[in-house]
Each structure stands twice: as structure tokens, then as C-alpha cells.
């Protein structure tokens, strides 16, 4: 088939499927206007943004670094930029490592439990926190941490002001606990469904060979989780630069930003409190591009190890 014929064929096919084109149209348009146009909007990182002129009408940046002038502010505010990026990465690492560990441990524990009804009852309670919005969690955390009426200070007889700078390093622990409380029950569901699919004959064979419970877990249960764990880890790499603003902006009440400030919460703060977007726009651009590069690399790796789990 020649190229021309091919193109003709394509158009004929598309015309034949015009109903399907129409069916795809609503999603296509919604995605275009609400996801694709904002991608284009990232060019404000290269513009001298003036709210009056809007994104598209603003002039290109032409400072010391030419069109890249906004990125100069990342270096001018080096300390802030590195702190925000560092915190973003730090929390990603803590949450991913501890989260995966707890997810797996919980999944294995519930899977090992002989009292199946009890297991599923507990599991359905453990999932609940994921459905509580961080706007509400903020108040729950406050109930524990308030200086005067908070439960922690009362129970342990402390007078610490948890939201003041004196407590800034505790927030790494607090945020980790809140995040784990929120996500572990839900996160383990996926691993449980993998464990439910493990061939029971493997366990029977192991029992006959005289393996005890721990040996069975070590040699059968955990290895069966490895593919899913590695895939989930690799895919989460694409989110390295993203953080949950609910946690970092709401729950912290945007205090102690030295230890709790991340790129996303900073951008959210900046939108509401400043009109100079040179730093935030450059940081946003950096965030999106790094995310893209990392997920492409991660996908390539997954494709090598476990092709059926690759995204594309």
C-alpha cells in the first residue's frame, strides 16, 4: 500500500467510525481544556508574567539569563529552592520506604490470619482513614497537638507548642505518622489481592516438607509479593516531585516550613499570597519536567523487568 492509499484508508476508517469519534469527543475536549492547555501554560516559566496580559499575552522574559530569567530566581533563592526540593525528596523517601514496609507487613499479617471473618472486618476498619479529607484530618491532628487542650500535652504532662518552631523536627515524625495512618490500610489491599492469588498447593507442599510458618512466609509469601512491590516502587518514582498538599499545607497549617515545606505546598501558598510568579513558575516547570523524565526512566526499567506491568 502506498502512503497516499494509507492516508485515504485512514480517513475512510475514521469516517466509518464517526460515531466513535463522537463518543470520544467529550473526554477529548475536557482533557484538552483542563489538562492539555495547562501543560502549555507552563511556558510562563519563560515569560515575564503580568496578570493584566495573561499567560499568552505576557512578554517573553528577557533579564540577565534571557528567556530563562525566571530560573535565575531558583539560584538567587538557592537556600529556599534546595530546602523545598530536599524536603520533597526526603518525605517521598520516608513515605515510600516505611509505607511499602507497613503495607506488606499488614497484608501478610491479615493473609496469615486463620480467622478470615475477623481479618476482613479489621481490614474494612483500617481502610476508613483514606476517606477522611485532610481538611478534616487537620482538626483531628490539632486535637492531639494543641498546646492547651491537646491530648498529647495533657496525657504526658507537657507544655510544648507543637506548631511553633521549637518543635520543627518533630514534624517529620508527625507527618509520617499521619500519612501512614491515612494510607496504610488502603495500600495493603493491593498486596492482599496478590496474596489471595498465591497457589495454596505451594503451602501444602511446604508443610509436607516440614517447613514452619516463618519459613513458609519467608520462602513463599514474601517472594510472591516481590514483583508487585517492585512495580509499585518504580511507578511511584514518577511522583517524586509531587506531594500531597493536604498533608503539607493543611495539616501543618503551613507552619514550620523549614522542615515541612515542599514544592507543592509552596506553590499553593504563593498563588494565594504573592503576585510575583517568577520563582513559583520556574519551580513548577522544574517539577513537571523532572517528573516526566523520572517516569520515562522508571517505565523503561519496568519494561525490562516485568513487561506486562509497563505503562506503555
Amino acid at each position: 500500500m502506498t502512503r497516499k492509499e494509507n492516508i485515504l484508508h485512514f480517513f475512510k476508517n475514521t469516517w466509518k467510525h464517526r460515531v466513535h469519534v463522537l463518543m470520544a469527543l467529550p473526554t477529548f475536549l475536557i482533557m484538552f481544556f483542563f489538562l492539555y492547555v495547562p501543560m502549555g501554560g507552563l511556558i510562563i516559566a519563560f515569560k515575564n508574567f503580568k496578570p493584566v496580559n495573561g499567560i499568552w499575552g505576557s512578554a517573553w522574559a528577557n533579564g540577565k539569563w534571557g528567556v530563562f530569567d525566571n530560573f535565575r530566581f531558583l539560584l538567587v533563592n538557592k537556600a529556599r529552592f534546595f530546602r523545598l526540593t530536599g524536603n520533597t525528596l526526603l518525605y517521598f523517601l520516608i513515605f515510600t520506604i516505611i509505607g511499602t514496609l507497613l503495607n506488606v507487613i499488614l497484608a501478610v499479617c491479615i493473609d496469615q490470619l486463620v480467622f478470615k471473618k475477623l481479618g476482613s472486618a479489621l481490614q474494612s476498619i483500617l481502610i476508613i482513614p483514606i476517606f477522611i479529607s485532610y481538611a478534616a484530618v487537620t482538626f483531628i491532628v490539632e486535637a492531639y497537638l494543641k498546646a492547651d487542650t491537646g491530648l498529647i500535652n495533657n496525657v504526658f504532662g507537657l507544655t510544648r507548642n507543637w506548631y511553633a518552631q521549637e518543635s520543627q523536627y518533630y514534624w517529620i515524625l508527625i507527618l509520617t505518622i499521619v500519612k501512614m495512618w491515612n494510607s496504610v490500610g488502603y495500600g495493603s489491599v493491593l498486596y492482599m489481592s496478590v496474596l489471595a492469588g498465591v497457589d495454596q498447593q505451594l503451602y501444602e507442599a511446604a508443610q509436607i516438607d516440614g517447613a514452619n510458618k516463618w519459613q513458609q512466609i519467608w520462602h513463599i509469601t514474601l517472594p510472591s509479593l516481590i514483583p508487585m512491590v517492585s512495580v509499585m516502587l518504580l511507578l511511584s518514582v514518577g511522583n517524586i516531585m509531587k506531594s500531597d498538599t493536604g498533608l503539607f499545607y493543611q495539616v501543618t497549617r503551613y507552619t514550620n516550613t523549614d522542615t515541612t515545606g515542599v514544592l507543592d505546598s509552596y506553590v499553593l501558598y504563593a498563588i494565594q499570597h504573592t503576585s510575583d510568579f517568577s520563582f513559583p513558575s520556574a519551580a513548577s516547570f522544574f517539577q513537571s519536567v523532572v517528573g516526566l523524565v523520572l517516569i520515562l526512566i522508571a517505565n523503561a526499567v519496568v519494561k525490562k523487568i516485568q513487561p506486562e506491568y509497563a505503562l506503555f
Binding site: H9, T27, F34, V114, E204
Partner: protein
């Protein structure tokens, strides 16, 4: 093979599996280890549930007792005063409920309908544009404009500030959900059934609405529930875009309570005497907790009905079709 036979076979297979399960269950020993494990898991679950219990307990605590003794699981004095307060200023809460229900239902239904149609189109194997549409729906997962750019485009270019559409449309079509729906159509909706409908003269729309969509119920329930909780809990878009009082969803109501208190407490210009006088208008701590109960309550009530679909929905999402 006819569909009826296929179903029969599946049922028998299930029966056999159940029997095997029973055999296995009999073999399993309920040794002391099992009781230790069960106890540990119960303890862990209680720890996880404690913060939620605290919300409910303090919502029913007497305000004076709470201020005197602090938050506690065993309040000195119980009271329903907080809920009385919440319902007394009920217009705001009712309006916020209305907005939240509107965007939750609206967003979820629009999203499910649009994405199912899209997924249906993607499942037509001889549709040449399919490759392009698949890639088109994948890209937003890899690359996105981020909050700032979205904010400037929606408010500056579209002039949609303070529009409820901004709470629904930007998050109604997501890559993951399209993949889940498409995978489900490909794997679990019998091709022969749709083909026979077409042979009988049903158009594509009719095939979709009368055959495909009803058969997608389990996955629609799973995806729909996840979307609905997303809408119910979304506060960031509301915080960024909503300015009118009567368009505030519940989550924004909570955030505004927070802001109000902070402004009053942190404002050095207000004399302490004035602060004391205003104390009556500051939302009391128990009232806040009662509001939190009102915000998280509905999800907890609805959640058990959708629970069985979750595990399925999650696993489907992780496997590419």
C-alpha cells in the same frame, strides 16, 4: 460456546474452589500463634480507629469540660450542645452540603459517562484512531501543568473563577480510570453480546447504553465510589477558585473555620478584652468537631456498601489490558 454454558462452567469451577478452600481451612491449625496475631491486629486496628473515635467523642463533649480538661476520650460531661450550635447556624452548613453533593454527583456522573464512552470507543478494535486516542489519554499521567499553570489558565484565560464547573471538570477524566474502564470492557463484557446486538440492528449508541453500560456496573461502582470520595474530599480547588459564600463546599467551610480562628487569635491589633467579647462568635472546639463529624459522616455510612468492589477495582487498575 454459548454464554449460558460458559456461566454454568464458571459456577461449577467456583464451587470446586470453595470446596478446596474448606479442605484447606480444616487443615489450618488455630495454634497460640494465631491468637497472638489476632490480638496484635485488633490492637493495631484500635490504634488506627482512636483518632476517629476522638472526633466523635469530642463532638459530644461539653465545651466547658473540654476547655477545662482538654480533649479526652472520657469527658467529664457529655453534651449535644455542639450539634445544636451546628444546626442553629444551619443555612451555611445546608448550603455547603448542597454544593458538595452537587459537585460530587455531577462530577462523578459526568466523568463516568464521558470516560465510559471514551473507553467504549477505544475498545473497537478496527477503529484506526484508537492508537492516537490511547496515547492522548495516557499523556496527562506522565506530564502535567501543575497547580500554578492550571490556576492561571482557568482564572486568567477562561475567566472561570468562582465557577462550580472548576470543581468538577478538571478532575473528572483521569488516565487511570479510563484504563480501568477500557480493560473491563475488553475483558469482562462479552464481545459476542455486543456483536449480536449490532447484528440485530442496534446502533452504536443503543449498544452502548443498553448492553455495555449495564454490564459495566461493578467497575462503574468501584471507579464511581473512588471518584465520589475524591470530589467529596477535594478542598484545594475550592480554596483556589471559590469566592462566593453560597458556593462553598463542606471542605472549604472547614478550612474557613480554621482561618477565622487563626486571624482572631493571631491578630495583635485586637485587644484581649475585645477578643474575650468576640469569643462567643469564635467557633467552639466542640462545634468544630461536630462539623468534622458532619463532613466525614456520610462517607463512612456509604462506604460499606461499596467496599466489596474496591479490591477488584484496585487490581484492575494495576494490570494493563
Amino acid at each position: 460456546m454459548s454464554i449460558v454454558e460458559d456461566l454454568k462452567e464458571k459456577r461449577e469451577q467456583k464451587k470446586k474452589e470453595k470446596e478446596l478452600d474448606l479442605q484447606y481451612g480444616v487443615k489450618e491449625k488455630k495454634g497460640p500463634g494465631q491468637y497472638v496475631l489476632a490480638t496484635l491486629l485488633i490492637l493495631y486496628t484500635i490504634i488506627v480507629a482512636l483518632p476517629i473515635i476522638l472526633v466523635f467523642v469530642s463532638a459530644f463533649t461539653d465545651e466547658d469540660a473540654l476547655i477545662k480538661n482538654g480533649y479526652s476520650y472520657f469527658p467529664e460531661k457529655w453534651s449535644v450542645g455542639a450539634f445544636k450550635m451546628v444546626f442553629a447556624s444551619g443555612d451555611k452548613l445546608a448550603a455547603a452540603y448542597g454544593v458538595t453533593i452537587l459537585i460530587t454527583l455531577g462530577g462523578t456522573l459526568i466523568g463516568l459517562l464521558c470516560m465510559s464512552l471514551y473507553a467504549y470507543a477505544l475498545s473497537r478494535k478496527d477503529f484506526r484512531l484508537r492508537g492516537f486516542l490511547t496515547i492522548y489519554s495516557m499523556i496527562p499521567m506522565l506530564f502535567n501543568g501543575g497547580t500554578l499553570s492550571g490556576y492561571l489558565v482557568f482564572t486568567g484565560t477562561y475567566h472561570m473563577k468562582d465557577s462550580l464547573w472548576l470543581l468538577m471538570l478538571p478532575i473528572c477524566c483521569t488516565t487511570m480510570n479510563i484504563i480501568i474502564l477500557r480493560t473491563y470492557i475488553q475483558n469482562s463484557v462479552p464481545e459476542e453480546l455486543m456483536d449480536s446486538a449490532r447484528i440485530d440492528g442496534a446502533g452504536e449508541w443503543r449498544t452502548f447504553f443498553q448492553i455495555t453500560l449495564p454490564l459495566m456496573k461493578p467497575t462503574l461502582a468501584a471507579v464511581g465510589f473512588m471518584m465520589a470520595t475524591g470530589y467529596w474530599n477535594d478542598w484545594q480547588n475550592a480554596l483556589l477558585y471559590i469566592t462566593s459564600d453560597y458556593k462553598r463546599p463542606l471542605q472549604l467551610l472547614l478550612i474557613n473555620i480554621q482561618k477565622m480562628i487563626e486571624q482572631l487569635v493571631n491578630n495583635p491589633n485586637i485587644a484581649s478584652a475585645a477578643k474575650a467579647a468576640m469569643a462567643g462568635s469564635i467557633p467552639q472546639q466542640t462545634t468544630i468537631m461536630a462539623t468534622v463529624v458532619m463532613v466525614i459522616g456520610p462517607i463512612m455510612v456509604i462506604y460499606p456498601f461499596f467496599q466489596k468492589y474496591f479490591a477488584k477495582g484496585l487490581t484492575m487498575g494495576s494490570v494493563k489490558g
